[in-house]
């Protein structure tokens, strides 16, 4: 209890004596100033959010300024906007898209595009689409989509950029690895979640999984240090990076070890496909043209990567020049020779790829006819 003091002038004092009111005024002014600052900051935040456009929009502006506007031939009225979500950062892996965008191959078919990239922490592309932030997604493998559909999504695979997934193993040249049996007992550098695929690799070869896990992140240091005999990688990435640093490394995709999968699977939700079929056909026609442009001139995309799409990501031009041919090599198969780029062979999907997933312990794989809709890309080939 504290003694209450009687103020000298008791209760007939003006409740707001002059010194006090000045203080109140200052406090009110401060609050008002704070509110204004807050409001201003909010406005600034909203304003600058609009400025933070995705690279594609910037690229679009730069590209359409750079290339002659294809309006002389009577470019069709815009069919709509397709937002594509990639599963990694700006990289030479997406060359076909960048080329198609900058050379106007999308625009001349009436398609506006926006690209959003991923990264180590990004939500899975399936989640990005489920949240409504993109229309077409690029998934690293089919399993993500199968699981997503099991959780209530309605995704459908439309095609695949690469006929063989670039996921694979990388090892130093001195190490002898030629088949799955050579992996038994080895120390394998894996990132979180890789174990399932490695186990599947053993099982699809009828070998009991037996190896030592060496946890790692995205850089191949454990391999160089000798902490791991082999590491998981993209055969188009880490081995080339190592070679550029003067380290002799070998690699092989999981397909070579018997675990088949497509690479960079293209997908969208069934509802979206039904509502926007013409737009999608035009989009993929543009993309196929982009693939052909990349194959015709693998060096054309490098300048785009460093100066336009990747200008905020510090692209390694040396690696990109070496990586593009490696990705291009994954585009072809007997099926694409007959049916065009991006197309998926449903028989291969059912017999080979599904077998791999079954070996991984996956049950309840949906029928291929439900998971795959090859008609969109088949129509795109004709455009």
């Amino acid at each position: 209890m504290h003694p209450r003091h009687q103020t000298p002038h008791a209760l007939d004092t003006n409740p707001l004596p002059v010194p006090q009111s000045r203080r109140t005024f200052l406090v009110n002014a401060a609050l008002l100033g704070g509110a204004t600052a807050f409001g201003g900051a909010l406005l600034a935040a909203c304003g600058s959010d609009d400025e933070e456009s995705t690279p594609a929009t910037t690229g679009d502006t730069d590209a359409s300024a750079a290339t002659a506007a294809p309006t002389t031939g009577g470019a069709p009225a815009s069919l709509g906007l397709v937002r594509t979500a990639f599963n990694w950062t700006v990289d030479v892996e997406w060359s076909a898209w960048y080329l198609a965008d900058s050379q106007g191959l999308f625009a001349e078919r009436g398609v506006d595009v926006e690209f959003s990239h991923g990264g180590p922490n990004t939500p899975a592309v399936a989640q990005v689409l489920a949240a409504g932030d993109a229309d077409v997604g690029v998934a690293s493998d089919e399993l993500q989509l199968i699981k997503a559909n099991a959780a209530g999504a309605d995704f459908v695979i439309l095609g695949a950029m690469y006929q063989r997934s670039p996921s694979g193993f990388c090892w130093l040249a001195e190490t002898e690895i030629a088949a799955a049996s050579d992996l038994v007992g080895k120390r394998l550098g894996l990132t979180t979640g890789d174990e399932i695929r490695v186990d599947a690799l053993f099982k699809v070869n009828d070998i009991e999984p037996e190896y030592e896990t060496v946890p790692m992140s995205f850089d191949p240091q454990p391999l160089i240090d000798g902490d791991a005999d082999a590491i998981t990688c993209y055969v188009t990435n880490q081995p080339i990076q190592l070679a550029l640093r003067g380290i002799d490394a070998k690699s092989a995709p999981f397909s070579d070890f018997g675990l088949k999968a497509f690479g960079d699977v293209l997908f969208a939700s069934k509802a979206y496909v039904e509502a926007n079929r013409d737009l999608l056909v035009a989009y993929f026609a543009g993309l196929i043209a982009g693939v052909k442009a990349n194959v015709a001139d693998p060096m054309a995309v490098i300048a785009l990567l460093t100066d336009v799409y990747g200008k905020d990501v510090e692209i390694d031009a040396e690696y990109s020049e070496a990586g593009n041919p490696a990705y291009i090599a994954l585009l072809d198969s007997d099926f694409t020779a007959a049916n065009g780029y991006l197309s998926i062979d449903p028989v291969y999907l059912e017999t080979e790829v599904y077998a791999s997933y079954t070996a991984a312990g996956e049950t309840d794989l949906p029928p291929v006819s439900e998971l795959l809709d090859a008609t969109v890309i088949a129509d795109a080939q004709k455009l």
Partner: protein, 532 residues
């Protein structure tokens, strides 16, 4: 102790330095220490320590000032912009929440609990939800706002309670309403404390913005960190990390200057408030009320979660239904329990290591100016470097092993304990120090009898923060490079799109973190009763 503190009064804050020496000589020793550190760095870089991971200062700076400087400038502005937006938004929300809590006593407990939950929620789990609601471009600013919230909320609450009881009584006797008392008395007096909180919040905003950029932002220091990690070029990693630390440090320095000006103007001190609010022994009724409030908050959060999913039609791929999460939690409690134990163990080890090193460093720094100069800049830079920047450096040097996770968590624990110990060691009232000196005690005796006991309350407050931080740091480390524990469970489940398991893990993380924080609070209150 209480009596001494009361007599020394608070018209002016306690003098920090008791040695009155010429400015030049005062700076000479610390400066020598700094130069020594830089020299060691240069030697290490030339020698290529840690497989070339350590580069010389020159090499580390080169990307920032060389050909790529425009890129780094753009990235820095993007990150600072997002951090600033997050700082403003988070501070305003936190300030408002604290005002409401102070002005409406019925809501105070609920708001405090909610703030604690917000603080305990791991960014790795919350950020995706934020991105769903706000969109990807606002991600970095949103995570920055989240990072800032708790600092500003706590410091505002403390500041609003800083007015002396006597002043409250005067105004109440004069017939002022609670709201008027709040605006006329408490708010003007809270600014030094708020700025104190902002001082810590600003570097956190930078760290939050950088973390948010890992979720797919088009540009920023976080984006540069990713490409630096992928390219394996050590100097790029250093450049981006140093820039990140610099941003945090500059923000801290600016606000420290503001704070000094504030203290000169308002002169409030913090020790008074801790006396008032922390010495009350909790009664059974209070404890029961706490428990009931926590349960009520948990229930309402679940309700909000459910309603949000239904109303906004969120896909189960992005946020799972509460029922599915509960099903997973109740079906496999053993998994969660095992993971929780692993995380707590990591956190405990990290806390032990971090505290020991921090207290030793603080004692050393307070005794020797040279040591201070040697150690403090490094500590400050490391503390200002965001976790996502520290990780690649630490992992390269020490490997991707469980011990690195503990080390990472320990470095996060280090800073709050170090700061608390430092301020604690200078917290002994001047009058008591003079008294002991007059009685002829040696420096060592004085240290044992006065400085250490005076530091204990500050230390336990610092430990309280550190304990909560240790859990979160352990979780983040596990999610990035771990092989077990709640963070690992979360990341694994999330990567495989097993959302119920991922959210279950996130909820357990929050519960564990809040519990640890509460337990540490009990320890803190007990120590304050005894030592303050």
């Amino acid at each position: 102790m209480t009596a001494v503190a009361a007599t020394s009064l608070a018209p002016s804050p306690p003098r920090r330095s008791r040695r009155r020496s010429m400015p030049v000589t005062r700076f000479a020793a610390p400066l020598a220490g700094v130069l020594c550190t830089v020299l060691i760095w240069e030697i290490g870089g030339r020698a290529g320590w840690a497989d070339g991971m350590i580069v010389t200062p020159g090499e580390a700076i080169e990307p920032i000032v060389g050909d790529t400087r425009e890129l780094y400038q753009r990235a820095t502005f993007a990150t600072i912009g997002a951090a600033a937006r997050g700082l403003v938004i988070g501070s305003v929300i936190a300030f408002s929440a604290a005002l409401v809590a102070a002005g409406v006593p019925a809501l105070r407990r609920a708001i405090s609990r909610l703030a604690a939950v917000a603080n305990a929620a791991p960014w790795v789990a919350v950020a995706p939800c934020l991105l769903v609601v706000l969109g990807r471009e606002r991600g970095p600013a949103a995570v920055a706002a989240l990072a800032v919230f708790f600092y500003v909320f706590v410091s505002t609450t403390v500041g609003l309670a800083a007015a002396p009881v006597a002043s409250h009584d005067v105004l109440t006797a004069l017939g002022t309403s609670r709201r008027r008392r709040l605006l006329m008395l408490q708010v003007p007096g809270c600014w030094p404390s708020v700025v104190d909180g902002l001082k810590l919040a600003a570097p956190a905003a930078v760290a939050g913005a950088i973390f948010g950029e890992w979720y797919g932002a088009p540009r920023g220091l976080g984006v540069l960190l990713i490409s630096a990690m992928q390219s394996g070029r050590a100097e790029r990693l250093w450049a981006a990390s140093l820039l990140s630390a610099a941003c945090g440090l500059i923000a801290y320095a600016v606000l420290a200057v503001v704070r000094t000006a504030m203290v000169r103007r308002y002169g409030a001190s913090i020790t008074q408030t801790t006396e008032r609010s922390l010495t009350q022994r909790p009664r059974t009724a209070t404890v029961l009320l706490e428990v009931v409030t926590s349960l009520a908050i948990a229930a309402s959060l679940v309700l909000v979660w459910f309603l949000w999913i239904e109303w906004a039609d969120i896909s189960p791929l992005v946020v799972p239904r509460p029922s599915t999460v509960w099903a997973d939690l109740s079906a496999t409690p053993g998994d969660y329990l095992g993971a929780a134990v692993a995380t707590l163990l990591t956190a405990a080890i990290a806390l032990a290591i971090g505290t020991t090193v921090a207290v030793t460093a603080a004692i050393g720094a307070s005794r020797s100016a040279f040591l201070s100069g040697l150690v403090v800049p490094v500590i400050v830079v490391v503390a200002a470097t965001p976790l996502v920047a520290l990780l690649p450096l630490l992992a390269r040097v020490f490997g991707y092993q469980p011990s690195t996770v503990r080390l990472l968590a320990a470095t996060m624990v280090f800073f709050p304990v170090f700061v608390a110990a430092r301020s604690g060691l200078t917290a002994a009232p001047v009058a008591a120090g003079d008294a002991i000196h007059a009685l002829g005690a040696s420096a060592a005796r004085r240290f044992r009898l006065l400085d250490l006991p005076a530091a204990v309350p500050h230390l336990t407050t610092g430990l309280r923060f550190a304990a909560g931080t240790a859990v979160i740091a352990a979780v983040v480390g596990e999610s990035l490079i771990g092989r077990q524990g709640l963070g690992f469970e979360f990341t694994l489940a999330y990567r495989q799109l097993e959302l119920p398991r991922a959210f279950g893990a996130a909820i357990v993380i929050v519960v564990v973190s809040v519990t640890v924080f509460a337990l540490a609070g009990i320890v803190e209150r007990a120590t304050h009763r005894r030592w303050a």
